[in-house]
């Protein structure tokens, strides 16, 4: 694990007068699954939004050795970073299939159609509902659609903001199993921010713990899962 795909250095973010991220640094290696754990309000969403250019930040973000700190979101997607926002971020008025097409907006190759088919093969329920509006889907189906939509841009790095939020445990499990398969089969690198430490650490390679805008702990997922402090704070131990 030496190939750093994404590197954030000394990242700070401010809303109005309030500094939310106090100069955090972390990295994501190619082909791994990294997680950032944190309680509500720790700054997880802020971090992930900073990465895809949705908010102004100071510090440096490098992706594939290129400085992307100053790029607009639409350029960052084109570099190969896809972002599934908190709360799914689907297009409720558009059909399921149109949602997937918007996901492929940056592409003009001939394989968009076959990629849509692949999404349907992965999630047959999306095929059944392809002409329904996305807003009519259940929470779990929305999350499947949101992830599929992001994959339609053929990203090198997938950012996921609390994918487990508001979903029943079995659905969360199936969803994360799918992440693992995508990662193993296609080598999609993922950065997942989560409150659900149990499931996230269970599948991740490495993890960070974000506390009030600062990285408190970092390490291999297998060792974090046994860390006293983490067990106390996140695993209900």
């Amino acid at each position: 694990m030496t190939n750093v795909l994404l590197k954030a250095e000394n990242l700070t973010a401010t809303y109005g007068q309030v500094e939310i991220l106090h100069g955090i640094s972390f990295e994501v290696y190619g082909n791994e699954i990294a997680v950032i754990l944190g309680a509500n309000g720790a700054g997880k969403t802020t971090t992930i939004r900073a990465l895809s250019g949705m908010i102004d930040t100071t510090g440096t973000i490098t992706f594939n050795k290129e400085d992307i700190s100053q790029l607009e979101p639409d350029s960052i997607v084109r570099k190969g970073v896809a972002h599934v926002p908190q709360g799914r971020g689907t297009f409720p008025e558009l059909t399921v299939e149109d949602n997937l097409r918007v996901g492929a907006f940056i592409r003009s190759d001939k394989e968009v159609e076959s990629d849509i088919q692949n999404c349907y093969d992965t999630y047959p329920v999306l095929f059944e509902r392809r002409s329904q509006s996305a807003g009519s889907l259940s929470g779990g189906e929305q999350q499947m659609l949101a992830v599929s939509r992001a994959l339609m841009s053929r990203p090198e790095l997938l950012l996921l903001d609390e994918p487990s939020l508001g979903l029943a445990p079995q659905i969360v499990e199936a969803l994360f199993e799918r992440f693992l398969i995508m990662n193993k089969d296609h080598g999609t690198t993922m950065l997942i921010v989560e409150q659900n430490a149990q499931i996230a650490l269970g599948m991740a390679d490495r993890g960070y713990v974000l506390e009030a805008g600062e990285i408190a702990v970092e390490g291999q997922a297998s060792s974090l899962i046994n860390d006293e402090a983490i067990i106390r704070a996140y695993l209900g131990g």
């Binding site: 895809s52 607009e72 689907t90 297009f91 008025e93 558009l94 996901g103 907006f105 841009s153």
Partner: protein
């Protein structure tokens, strides 16, 4: 009976023109959840540009298409220079700006073309296509309605079958996710403004081509109010709803008001608003509007 038919025909004629302006309003509303109060004046200015081009010797339909392009470009410039500076989520400043534009555009047209009514090119054949008893359905009515359908079909295809249309619908639906998918939101909204202005110019040209009307700077004032009502009746975010709304308003104006003796002619506007209130009470999203359109 003849009179009733005649009134139906008149309703069709006016309704088509209202529908075209309503469509322009719907395009802006879909993109920004904003009513562009300047839409009627942009359309009026567009129609004056058409008239000017025609006076300079362009064939009338070439003048119409060129006028649509010019007003589209102007609206795109307006979006870039003024509208984009403001937070799209904060509606009050934007509404005030569109009201300001309304006044400015009206004044500009008055300065250039004065208030004297001018003859507009007759875009469609003269005379009646159909005579039933004493009721006449003019070629103008048929063509006005036909071009309204044509514009709607073209817009429908543009929005639903093309990539720019997809990005427009995406931006209308979820601004943040659109950015995350790589859509450039500014230019997409600009495209919406241009498209709306072109559609509006077409509508105003059709309206002004009515043999019984002449063009002057306040020609769209009344039409705008009816068109806003039409757009609201149709659901504000539905193209076909705008057509239904436009025709409904046209028919209310020419049929309903004529047959209910206690509604004086001067109260046509009030009658349409009353119908709007009744419809929205029972169907809050209008005829064809998206239910509870949620936006952040």
């Amino acid at each position: 009976m003849d009179l009733f038919l005649q009134r139906l025909f008149d309703g069709l004629t006016n309704g088509s023109a209202y529908a075209l302006i309503a469509v322009a309003l719907v395009l802006i509303f879909k993109a920004t959840t904003l009513i562009n109060f300047a839409q009627g004046e942009q359309a009026m200015l567009g129609a004056f540009i058409v008239l000017q081009l025609w006076n300079w010797g362009l064939p009338m339909w070439i003048a119409v298409i060129t006028g649509m392009l010019i007003s589209g470009l102007l609206a795109g410039g307006l979006e870039r220079a003024i509208i984009r500076r403001f937070d799209p989520a904060d509606h009050l400043p934007l509404v005030i700006i569109t009201l300001g534009l309304f006044l400015v555009l009206n004044a500009v047209a008055a300065i250039i073309w004065r208030y004297d009514p001018l003859a507009f090119p007759q875009l469609f054949p003269h005379g009646s296509a159909l005579t039933i008893g004493n009721a006449r359905l003019s070629w103008y009515s048929i063509f006005a309605f036909g071009s309204c359908i044509l514009v709607l079909l073209l817009l429908h295809v543009l929005l639903n079958k093309t990539k720019i249309g997809l990005s427009f619908r995406a931006v209308s639906s979820n601004l943040e996710s659109s950015r995350l998918c790589g859509i450039k939101v500014g230019p997409t909204l600009q495209f919406g403004w241009a498209l709306a202005a072109a559609a509006g110019t077409f509508g105003a040209s059709i309206y002004a081509a009515n043999p019984v009307l002449q063009i002057e700077p306040s020609i769209m004032l009344r039409a705008l109010i009816f068109s806003i009502t039409a757009a609201a009746l149709g659901g504000l975010d539905s193209l076909w709803g705008a057509l239904l709304g436009g025709l409904t308003i046209g028919f209310i104006q020419s049929v309903l008001v004529q047959y209910i003796p206690f509604i004086p002619n001067e109260m046509t506007l009030a009658a349409t608003v009353a119908v709007l209130l009744i419809v929205l009470t029972f169907r809050p999203s209008g005829f064809l509007g998206t239910k509870a359109v949620e936006r952040v």
